[in-house]
């Protein structure tokens, strides 16, 4: 979920949810550490010896919770916790990302594709004992449709809703304005109406005053201390079955190295990193005892975006993107001079997959690769020829100049908080330098301003892709362009391509999965050819957990996938405590000895000063005698 995107916050739009907003990413990074750009995975920590048999899974996290209200929360940490606290209408199968029943047991569209009917299960109960019904779901959606404040985090899901009703406690009916293929991917936590209808101002209510918080998910939120920890206990009555761990704790380590160190010591059971562990960390953890490194295919793509000439919906141009980039040959030449193999080997040190199409291979049904003819492979000589052809020839000093005699000097926007951006920036400077192109790497904490203003030539870009790819596709449509110059908008990179837009409209109205997937692939092919979004890599999710605390845990996809930040609660719900984890394992003994020694040192240090004074006073007293 780390989006490398401009600092915008990705919001979930219809099907896809952007887990991490870029703003959050920036913050997290800023915090220096652990922001889960990616999933945070919980690590099971076992509970401590003093509690006898209570099992606790502890997850190291870095990102601060923005809000515990599902109506306001946008950061990955918060939405991950909401996954545990509240059930959604549907869930995604851990095996293959297919939508499967959750609060709704089945759903179907009407013949005109405009009305969806959901059957709500009868065995889901709120933690205060009341039954969860279609009423709760209808109230949640209606609240988001009528109260601007309640639409803060998930409003985009209901943008196309005309009317939501609950004719019976088991039946939820949603009427749409336009057909929408993503109705089994409504990632909206359903809240208990009887609790939430008492809330006055939704823009100020953070759901963090009264514990435990009433919910119907696999865990119940019991305690929260800002930037220290978030605690949840198992919901024994959860309809899918109780989680195996009794408790899950998200504990804060703002520094990723500190989090890794905590894992080594057994202070935490799981570390995800932000967005993932570094190659050095994963290499050193691989050799550690009782620690398993999960190096899984990621859900993110990492791309080189070129400014296609920023403009508004009505075509007003703005920004100062380099005119040379309006030439497709130049864009393609630039990408052909990028050695993706080296990036994977050197920057990611093998913890990534070479980029192909727009959607990562993890989402098999939508994954697309360019044909041999259209593939822009690494080929500096061909890149040079393309540039010559486009009219940018080398001058005497080895610099490429345009027909106007101006040298080809480009700028690239980079996220100051992302080490990969900075590293690849260095490589690009050298590769493109050989080609005769100058590059200024412009690293900012907050890239959103130049980005929205269209004041960039190239940029490092990246989004997390959801099981339903609608969102990441929608951000390149003309409809996403800003209404006015420099206004924020849904657009990612000011792309507006007629052919792409037609395909987008078709896939959204296509309810047949196979046909829709085919349309999506055609869109990816088109996007690849334009040279506006050049995917360099799909970074892996690199996480680690202690095998002496967690015996087993479900990844997503289950064959090889991530643990933290899943589309669902599978990892934490399924985690099985290791034998002995709860009953004072050797670790425990070790750590409590450590605690005692530590306390001893602390006491000595603290007492030192007092003692000095005391001694001094005593000797003075002696003098007086």
């Amino acid at each position: 979920m780390v989006t490398r995107v401009p600092p915008r916050s990705p919001r979930p739009r219809r099907g896809v949810r952007f887990l991490l907003t870029s703003g959050a990413a920036a913050l997290a990074l800023a915090a220096g550490s652990v922001v889960p750009g990616n999933p945070l995975a919980p690590a099971p920590q076992e509970a401590q010896a003093d509690d006898g048999d209570k099992t606790t899974l502890t997850v190291a996290v870095a990102q601060s919770v923005d809000s515990l209200s599902p109506f306001l929360a946008q950061r990955l940490i918060s939405t991950s916790i909401h996954r545990l606290m509240y059930d959604y209408l549907t869930n995604y199968d851990a095996k293959d990302n297919q939508a499967i029943p959750a609060l709704a047991t089945e759903w179907k569209p009407s013949a005109d594709k405009l009305t969806w009917t959901y059957t709500i299960r009868s065995d889901s109960k709120w933690s205060d004992g009341r039954k969860a019904t279609a009423e709760d779901a209808a109230w949640t959606f209606n609240k988001m449709m009528t109260d601007e404040a309640a639409a803060t985090s998930n409003g985009s899901f209901v943008g196309n809703f005309k009317k939501v009703t609950a004719p019976t406690p088991e039946r939820l009916v949603i009427e749409l304005k336009e057909p929408q293929a993503t109705m089994a991917a409504l990632d909206v936590p359903i809240v208990p109406r009887h609790v939430w209808e008492k809330v006055g101002d939704f823009s100020k209510f953070n759901n963090d005053q009264k514990f435990p918080v009433v919910g119907n998910g696999p865990f119940i939120l019991t305690e929260y201390k800002v930037d220290s920890y978030v605690k949840l206990k198992a919901n024994k009555d959860f309809w899918r079955g109780s989680p195996k761990f009794d408790e899950i704790v998200f504990r804060y380590y703002k520094d990723q190295d500190a989090a890794v160190a905590a894992l080594r010591k057994g202070e935490v059971s799981f570390v995800a990193g932000s967005p993932s562990l570094t190659p050095a960390q994963s290499a050193s953890l691989k050799t550690a005892e009782n620690i398993k490194v999960n190096d899984a295919p990621g859900r993110r793509f990492y791309a080189l975006a070129t400014n296609p000439g920023a403009r508004t919906k009505d075509g007003t141009r703005f920004g100062d993107g380099h005119p040379a980039l309006l030439d497709q040959r130049v864009r393609q030449a630039l990408f052909m001079a990028v050695d993706r193999r080296t990036i994977i080997d050197r920057v990611f040190q093998g913890h990534a997959v070479e980029g192909e199409g727009y959607i990562p291979p993890r989402f098999k049904e939508y994954f697309w690769t360019p044909s041999a003819g259209q593939k822009l492979s690494y080929d500096p000589a061909k890149a040079a020829a393309l540039l010559d052809e486009a009219g940018y020839r080398k001058n005497g000093a080895g610099k490429r100049v345009g027909k106007d005699g101006k040298p080809l000097d480009l700028r690239i926007l980079c996220h100051a908080t992302d080490p990969n951006d900075k590293a690849i920036g260095k490589y690009l400077q050298e590769w493109w330098g050989d080609l005769g192109i100058g590059l200024k790497v412009n690293c900012l904490d907050n890239v959103s301003d130049p980005w929205y203003a269209g004041e960039y030539d190239l940029a490092f870009d990246g989004w997390s892709v959801n099981p339903d790819p609608d969102f990441v596709l929608s951000i390149h449509t003309c409809a996403a362009l800003p209404a006015k110059p420099k206004e924020s908008a849904a657009t990612d990179n000011f792309i507006c391509d007629k052919q792409y837009d037609e395909l987008y409209a078709k896939q959204l109205a296509e309810y047949d999965p196979a046909k829709r997937a085919d349309l999506v692939k055609q869109m990816e092919s088109r996007l690849y050819d334009t040279g506006y979004m050049n995917v360099m890599a799909y970074p892996n999710a690199v996480e680690a957990y202690r095998t002496d605390q967690i015996k087993s845990i479900t990844t997503m996809p289950s064959a090889a996938g991530n643990i933290y930040g899943q589309d669902g609660y599978w990892s934490w719900w399924s985690a099985v405590p290791a034998a002995g984890a709860s009953s004072g394992s050797s670790d425990e003994g070790g750590s409590s000895t450590g605690v005692l020694i530590g306390i001893g040192v602390a006491v000595v240090v603290l007492a030192g000063g007092g003692l000095l004074f005391a001694m001094r006073r005593r000797s003075t007293a002696e003098d007086r005698e």
Binding site: T278, P279, P419
Partner: protein, 306 residues
């Protein structure tokens, strides 16, 4: 200050002054030599400056290239790479040498900026005692209570990321101390009779400030500069560590930040983390030692009068 008064020879005032100063300098050096710590600091600084100047010859510019790197990622120290390699396979020793240039440059320039502002403000505030002096000193006092680090972080955030931003952020947040010291010195210089004489002879403000006050505060300014450099080097490292430096330039603080981002701390790659930190500490200490020595030579009574 350490001006000898017996230089009564039949020469022009210029050469008289020159001789006086030459003598002051040699007297100063004579005393400075007796402070072992100060000497040690000076020697260390000389060595480091030499390394910084000869870095291009010693290691070559290509050692900063990522595409031309020959080592593997994060190799531990070996004969080929005495301090190991960074995540791109570049020699850390070479990077440390290159970093010396940036860190020293930033430290020197920032200190120069800071002391220049401080001296200007201090002399003018001491010379023009009226409302100008009052207002300017109120501003100085006010800057003095601003938390320096917080202000520097804020400035570095506000401006774009570059070496110049770092220099500016350090320079404009550390000058008030110098200003106060210089102003006090100015007041004491201007109370001396020869200033009266100079005024009576028609010396203007500019003449008095530049010809009489400035030379007399210079020694103080010198010691102050030395001390500010060590602060500046530490602050540069701090800003770089917080990710507010220019990521495309190799500096010691930047190396530490890179080490941290690469996860060197928890992977036990001490050879990545330890040398830049040590280098910072050594240089900061060397400047501090020199500064303290200069100060005590120039004003041996400082310790007793305060």
């Amino acid at each position: 200050m350490t001006v000898s008064t017996d230089a009564v020879r039949d020469k022009g005032p210029r050469s008289l002054a020159r001789a006086r100063r030459r003598r002051a300098v040699s007297g100063f050096w004579h005393q400075y030599r007796t402070h072992r710590a100060g000497l040690a600091g000076l020697v260390v600084l000389g060595l480091i400056a030499l390394l910084a100047l000869t870095a291009p010859v010693l290691v070559g510019a290509e050692s900063q290239s990522v595409t031309g790197a020959t080592g593997g990622p994060l190799e531990s120290p070996s004969a080929e790479f005495p301090l190991g390699t960074d995540q791109f396979g570049r020699s850390l020793l070479a990077l440390l040498l290159w970093g010396t240039r940036v860190s020293l440059t930033v430290g020197l320039l920032a200190a120069f900026l800071s002391v220049a502002i401080g001296t200007l403000v201090g002399i003018t505030a001491g010379h023009f005692k009226g409302w100008y002096g009052t207002v300017i000193m109120r501003i100085t006092d006010w800057f003095l209570v601003m938390p320096t680090l917080v202000l520097a972080i804020a400035l570095a955030t506000v401006l774009s990321r570059s070496v110049w931003t770092t220099i500016l952020a350090i320079g404009v947040t550390t000058w008030p101390t110098t200003a106060r010291l210089v102003r006090a010195q100015t007041l004491s210089v201007e109370s001396r009779p020869y200033i009266e004489r100079s005024k009576a002879l028609g010396g203007g403000h500019g003449h008095i400030m530049s010809r009489h006050v400035l030379p007399n505060v210079m020694p103080l300014v010198l010691s102050q500069t030395t001390l500010v450099i060590s602060t500046a080097i530490l602050t540069e490292a701090t800003l770089a560590f917080l990710g507010l430096g220019d990521p495309t330039i190799v500096s010691w603080g930047g190396l530490l930040q890179d080490a941290r981002e690469a996860g060197a701390v928890s992977s036990g790659n001490w050879w990545y983390l330890a040398p830049p930190g040590l280098a910072i500490a050594v240089v900061a200490l060397a400047f501090t030692l020199c500064g303290r020595t200069i100060e005590s030579v120039l004003n041996p009574k400082l310790g007793v009068t305060r």
